[in-house]
Subunit: 341 residues, 2 copies
DNA sequence: CGTTAGCACTCCTTTTAAGCGAGTGCTAAT
DNA sequence: ATTAGCACTCGCTTAAAAGGAGTGCTAACG
């Protein structure tokens, strides 16, 4: 349990360090105004806080910087969430104003906005189709051997891919298949599509058409494989602004990680609804052990759909970022519900 | 006009500098084996080459490095295109083997491949729809007020966006409009869609439906706005590997530029078919004045469709990159023609 | 007893100086 | 025409010195 004074001092140190990126000394805290004790007193408290593991010293005779544990305490107990400035609010308001006609637009724009407002890197995961239902399925022939399969979800989400039509399947057959699929699958949640495809559709299909196994597995692939969400990244170069990454090698390993979509999705794996803060080594990923990741989920009809997140140095403006993510995730949810209500 | 010996020396200097990134001295050239003259002789020639503007000296008593003009001469007259190693060829072969079912897959994969094989940054522009024709147009209602418009090109390219249905337009009306559009627009090249929409469609539409101006402009937007090609980027972090960008600020300004899709498209603006090399300040963009950009167009039925490119330091392995781009652009063209023949 | 002034000490950072060495340009010899 | 020899330049590395921010401890103060 920390005393009130210790908490004030810890708060002051974290705030100062977030601004300056340099170890904070007792003198500078004493001069801040909000902590009215002398440097000597503050030094004593700082020694205690260091013993508790909340602060560390880069070397003897340097100021203190917050440890991971220190940031954690700050985030859990001290941070103030007033962080949205006038400009920020104005930009966020215009977020609604811009006409967006597909979700990629919304999500991509949100990513850009986040990185611009924070000067950190933003990572945004597009909506998962898990809880959405199939609205429409269609095959459009391109030529004799290939067709475009188009899948529309009830959220307006569209996926498509080109498939090769197996030999021995006529145009008529295709039309029948499409009708059958629309009959049976419309309104079915995507995560159940696969089983319905196997149980009901397979039987019907064998009646009409030969070679049905082939086309069935093709459709299965087409419909089920595309469920992985898309990742949007913005402001990766902002990482280079941070003094902690002036070392090219550190910067490089982070940027390399950011380029691997797979890894980013791993990073977002366990996202409980609401806002989550992962500080430094609390992140599983080696490359971002000196970073903090703050994520917020956006949801539609109570179901959490996707995630927006900010990656920055552990020395991050937690207050500002948290309130921004909170605000924007609700905005996105609202925007999506307006579309599809 | 350069003498044979001068060309050998220039070639040796460029080759050496590309490998080492350090100013090349007369002594080290003399020891290479392929230029059998003494350092003193080589020094004389180097002084001449500097006077011609092909070499420069970072400071007195340093070795020489190629100037922009020097690289230009190297690329135009000296470079050897044998650059594809065994591994490279093997990886390129597997490019065809992977199953790709939409063009984004091909293009994205090509970008990854290029950056991995070269350790530079690759930029790839997806196919322009300019010369392609409309294959199918469809509106799929999502709910009472919105629908998804889907546009399929004869190349299998699919675009979609959500539109809001204006008041006073019924489902029947929509169906009529879709039929009309498919009748009139199928087979029409995209660049002519707009005018056809205004001339023929507008007349017909006024007969059936009120409020037609509104929906017409909506459709026009939908169909014409989506023609801008998509940009794929890979290996941006490779820039940080190059010693010339160990300076964080230089690296940052380049990475920032790479994040702006608009700028990248500008960069590719004038792309005559075939391979183009732009060295250093030959690039219009300030941020990449210390970079070289090599681009190759890939085409389909004689019409150049899109561009693949490599961005690296001026000290780039021109031979290897040029042959690689040449090879891959033809591969992509072949792959696309196989789909749609 | 909590708080604060004073002071010696630590250690990082910046500055200055010296020496090294790769490379050049010129001259004279081959 | 080519090459060996040599004095000279200048960036880079290493070493030493100066500077300074900040601490921990002790003793004095209210």
């Amino acid at each position: 349990m920390l005393s009130e004074r210790q908490r004030m001092i810890l708060n002051a140190i974290v705030d100062d360090y977030i601004r300056s990126a340099e170890p904070v000394g007792s003198r500078s805290i004493s001069k801040r105004g909000d902590v009215t004790f002398s440097p000597a007193t503050i030094r004593n408290e700082m020694a205690d806080l260091e013993e508790l593991g909340l602060l560390e010293q880069p070397h003897t005779s340097a100021g203190r910087i917050p440890s991971i544990k220190g940031y954690r305490y700050y985030v859990d107990h001290l941070v103030t969430l007033d962080g949205l400035g006038d400009q920020d609010v104005r930009k966020l308001r215009t977020f609604f104003a811009e006409k967006m006609n597909h979700w990629e637009g919304v999500i991509g724009h949100a990513a850009t906005l986040l990185s611009q407002l924070t000067n950190y890197t933003s990572i945004v995961l597009g909506p998962e189709m898990f809880s959405t239902t199939l609205k429409h399925f269609q095959l459009i022939p391109i030529n004799d051997v290939s067709a475009v399969a188009i899948i529309v979800a009830n959220t307006g989400h569209v996926e498509h891919r080109t498939i090769t039509i197996p030999d021995g399947i006529s145009m008529d057959d295709m039309a029948k298949i499409v009708n059958l699929l629309n009959d049976k699958l419309t309104g079915i949640p995507f995560h159940r599509v696969k089983s319905v495809l196997h149980s009901e559709i397979a039987k019907e299909l064998t009646r009409y058409i030969d070679h049905c196994e082939e086309i069935l597995s093709l459709l299965e692939q087409t419909i089920t494989e595309e469920q992985e969400p898309k990742v949007f990244l913005s402001g990766a170069s902002n990482m280079l602004t941070q003094p902690e990454f002036k070392d090219i090698d550190k910067a490089k390993s982070i940027l390399e990680m950011l380029e691997e979509t797979q890894l980013l999705m791993q990073l977002f794996q366990s996202n409980p609804s609401g806002i989550q803060v992962r500080i430094g080594t609390e992140n599983a990923m080696e490359a971002i052990n000196q970073c903090s990741l703050i994520t917020a989920t956006y949801s539609y009809e109570g179901q959490s759909l996707g995630t927006i997140g900010i990656l920055g140095p552990t020395r991050m403006e937690y207050g500002k970022v948290i309130s921004l993510l909170d605000y924007l995730s609700k905005d996105i949810a609202l925007l999506m519900s307006r579309w599809h209500k």
